[in-house]
């Protein structure tokens, strides 16, 4: 596995320290003088759950942005179309949650994709599958933590798109396989539902910023 990565790309989502702003996907935003070293706590209640989703969408958006910017060499015909769509969707999810949270949002996270070989189709697609399946499990487990029906509706409109992504990625890995409709992750007709503590543990290796969820289960 290629452990090298470009410092310039690494800084794409870097949460600026000691600077006046943060570069996020081309936009320059104030960082409110918070230091990345302090990490980010997601908060409690519905805001905590939305911030949790926002953290995961940041991760996915950063990943696909990097994938599309650095296409692997062994591209197959549909790969780029689908990966570009997924990037656009995840960016849309991230921006939607950013807007919904307003000034109660967590800071921009710094990601760590050092373990991903962006030149390898296999490494990229396997990582994509992990992220999409994890996203589905996360939203499924988070639904019952929400109190506000509008937030539940919003989460519902995102989670099924994540599941559609998971299927498309699984189909790219093994076309027309049972895996493409969830074999290996779906059990007795049900997708998993995971709690934030479990999801954050799995997402942890890809997020450099310390993310805590002290008020979430």
């Amino acid at each position: 596995m290629d452990m090298k990565h470009s410092p310039t790309r690494r800084t794409l989502l870097k949460w600026g320290v000691g600077t006046t702003g943060v570069a996020v996907a081309g936009a320059f935003l104030p960082n409110f003088g918070i230091s990345a070293a302090l990490g980010a706590d997601l908060g409690s209640g519905d805001i905590g759950v939305l911030n949790y989703a926002y953290a995961l969408e940041q991760l996915e958006a950063a990943f696909y942005t990097q994938v599309v910017a650095n296409p692997f060499s062994d591209m197959r015909p549909n790969d780029m179309t689908i990966l570009t769509q997924l990037r656009d969707h995840e960016v849309a999810h991230r921006e939607f949650l950013r807007d919904a949270l307003g000034n109660r949002r967590i800071p921009d996270l710094e990601v760590d994709f050092g373990g991903i070989n962006f030149r390898s189709r296999r490494s990229v697609l396997n990582t994509a599958r992990t992220f999409e399946d994890l996203g589905v499990s996360a939203y499924n487990g988070a639904g019952q933590l929400l109190k506000n029906v509008d937030y539940l509706a919003a989460a519902g409109s995102i989670v099924s798109v994540e599941a559609r992504h998971a299927s498309a990625i699984r189909d790219l890995i093994r076309p027309l396989s049972a895996s493409a409709v969830g074999q290996g992750v779906v059990s007795n007709g049900l997708d998993p539902a995971l709690l934030p503590s479990s999801v954050l543990k799995q997402a942890g290796p890809f997020i450099k910023t310390e993310v805590s969820a002290q008020a979430l289960p």
Partner: protein
């Protein structure tokens, strides 16, 4: 295994019988807190008993029966499709066989919770009065209806989620079915040469909208 026996003793006896399939696996997963709800009719039955005792609230019964009607429809559709010779191309059989199994599992799950309140399996007409006369002879027609049912299922569960707010694990299980329907929808669309989605956000449908769409297939 004393612990498992204790858990099961808290159920009414026939409920235990209804959920007996795969219960050991489900109990094991239930015991691990990382996975909220791994599998099986047991989980939803457990959830409903835990939350409501033996009397499910009318809203929950209504939502789950609505879901069950759609699952009956889907399960019957794939059963008929998979048993029709020369309909599904061999390369796509794994996909449709897996989808069909999931729909059967959804039916079993919902029935196990609803018990005596479960609606009966509806009579179906997948030709919709002749409009899709070749549904079980022409794969293009079959695939198109499959896509219709899967996307409808996704929108239906999504539209009902708000009515399950506050039901805890029952909502969770509905969400766990919802995302599986979305996996199906995506793959069936891709088999038809389409993208697996319409946009970055899926839209819900109300119960009335869903029933209007399903009506032509209910004989």
């Amino acid at each position: 295994m004393t612990e498992q026996n204790t858990i099961f003793e808290s159920f009414e006896p026939d409920l235990v019988d209804r959920i007996a399939v795969g219960r050991r696996e489900a109990i094991t997963k239930y015991a691990k807190s990382a996975v909220l709800w791994g599998s099986a009719p047991l989980t939803l039955a457990l959830a409903s008993t835990e939350a409501f005792g033996q009397d499910l609230p009318a809203t929950v019964v209504d939502v789950l029966n609505f879901a069950l009607t759609l699952e009956y429809l889907e399960a019957a559709f794939y059963e008929q499709g998979l048993s029709s010779r020369r309909l599904i191309p061999s390369e796509s059989r794994d996909v449709f066989r897996t989808i069909g199994r999931h729909e059967n599992e959804h039916v079993a799950l919902l029935k196990s919770v609803l018990g005596g309140s479960a609606v009966a399996q509806p009579a179906v007409d997948f030709t919709a009065g002749g409009k899709y006369a070749d549904v079980f002879e022409n794969f293009a027609t079959f695939r198109l209806l499959s896509e219709t049912f899967e996307d409808l299922g996704v929108a239906a569960y999504k539209g009902q989620a708000g009515r399950l707010l506050g039901t805890g694990k029952i909502l969770t299980v509905a969400l766990q079915i919802h995302s599986v329907e979305a996996r199906h929808a995506s793959e069936v669309r891709r088999i038809g040469g389409k993208l697996g989605w319409d946009s970055a956000f899926d839209k819900p449908k109300t119960k009335a909208q869903v029933l209007a769409a399903a009506q032509p297939f209910l004989a």
